[in-house]
Chain length 280, copies 2
């Protein structure tokens, strides 16, 4: 596996692959790869002739008081994990390579990006859409892989791809979890031992909500209340939001009617964690 740091370097390789008629899968990541990313890379390797993993902590999707500077980084480990999972290239550009001097163009959307995480992270999805557009244009993939842990991001990217006519298939992949149910996340590394133990309740709370839905409950307020009460049992946790919305439109609903996303965001100390379940 090759590590590439320049856009022109990637372009040269991609052009050669295209000439040979090879299909390309892209797995966009912010690095510090875990088994969740690994599952995306493995799937991309099964479905494409060549796989590019991008590894870039994207400054413009972080708010001013968020964790951009402290976000964990380990390119060496990322290259080992990517190579093992079947990637051909790890693309790790510097910030200055992605955002030159007077950079001022943004891709933004309304609709699925208006609720949930957008409330506490107002310019987050603009940053995501912009960097993902750039990565799509640099790597020209036929397929791109995103984890369903970021379910709203998945919905936003799918909408962007449809609206702007990117000729790319967006593939959402299941959440990978720790043994106690906590969704794998690079941000789990922020947690102290006691916080890490407490974090398990997030998925357990969502599971209780899911059981309610499976047993026939359709009243969103009741399900949300159940999830919130369970989370509230853990004193280390502070709820950012628990919501049930249509999927992939991300529109509020009172009574379930069609596919839903139940999503939650919580703070444990300074760490913000998200998790969700989708039901068709």
């Amino acid at each position: 596996m090759e590590i590439i740091t320049t856009i022109s370097g990637i372009r040269g390789i991609v052009k050669e692959w295209k000439r040979e008629g090879l299909s390309i899968g892209l797995v966009p990541t912010m690095g510090y790869l875990h088994e969740g990313h690994e599952s995306l890379i493995e799937r991309a390797a099964r479905e494409n002739d060549r796989v590019i993993v991008s590894d870039f902590v994207n400054p413009i999707q972080f708010g001013e008081n968020e964790d951009f500077s402290s976000y964990p980084r380990d390119i060496e480990m990322d290259s080992i994990i990517s190579g093992r999972a079947g990637a051909d290239i790890l693309f790790c550009p510097e910030g200055s390579e992605m955002y030159k001097g007077s950079f001022s163009t943004f891709v933004d959307l309304t609709g699925p990006s208006d609720r949930l995480c957008a409330k506490s992270r107002p310019s987050h999805f603009r940053g995501v859409c912009t960097v993902v557009s750039k990565l799509f244009l640099i790597t020209e993939p036929g397929r791109a892989y995103f984890g369903q842990k970021d379910a709203q991001q998945l919905a936003v990217i799918k909408k962007m791809v449809r609206d702007l006519n990117f000729d790319i298939e967006i593939i959402g992949c299941p959440i990978i979890r720790e043994e106690d149910g906590l969704a794998k996340s690079s941000r789990n590394s922020y947690l102290s031992e006691s916080e890490r133990r407490a974090a398990a309740i997030l998925n357990k709370a969502l599971d209780e909500g899911k059981s309610l839905v499976e047993s026939g409950e359709r009243d969103c307020v009741k399900i949300i209340e159940t999830i919130k009460q369970k989370i509230a049992q853990e004193p280390l946790m502070r709820i950012d939001y628990v919501e049930i919305v249509s999927f992939p439109e991300i529109e509020p609903m009172a009574v379930m009617d069609g596919p839903i996303l139940a999503a939650a965001a919580v703070y444990i100390g300074k760490t913000r964690l998200i998790d969700n379940f989708i039901m068709e």
Copy 2:
């Protein structure tokens, strides 16, 4: 020359061309083609194996009280002119093909899009950047051709392409003029006979400004004043703006220092006309 109205239709042809290793030139237009467009198409035909002319009056680049519904349209004549100038495809999608149902994704930038025409047309360049991004993603050209009559648009598109990493060369082409100097424009068709005669003064005024620069004048205010006074001699004309800015940054300047764009926009009756000159 073939007329195509669907995105999937274009994609099929483009894919085949790419397989054959052919280069593609795109000439984005709003139709009602004149000799200005023709010169773009002819140049694209000289420099590329295949040429696509897009012919789409883009609703989202018009303001609410602008001329979207009255904008002149003549696809039949456009297809004759395009074919004669060397185009292989005229792409004329319906509005509903380009903007499906819940469309809500936009490409926008700050900097070169903040001044000049943006003052009286605040969401114009957002509409331009969005439709041009879509056309780029649909037609996958190696080169795209824009007239220098829309000099600010040219600067905006070049910035967008650089910022978002479109792998496309943007080529600006000289203004084509009527015998009396009026820049060719589809909107000239709005002018009554007397307005048409009056319109010639716009270019004459800019030419006086240009002569001043050529004779060594570097004070922008003086040059602008000269241009404005000349335009004011024509009672049918109302000035929207006359400005001298750096090019391609489109930043204000008091004393000339490096390449400049002298740009003017005027109203004659309800018709808005623009013209400019660039000096290196």
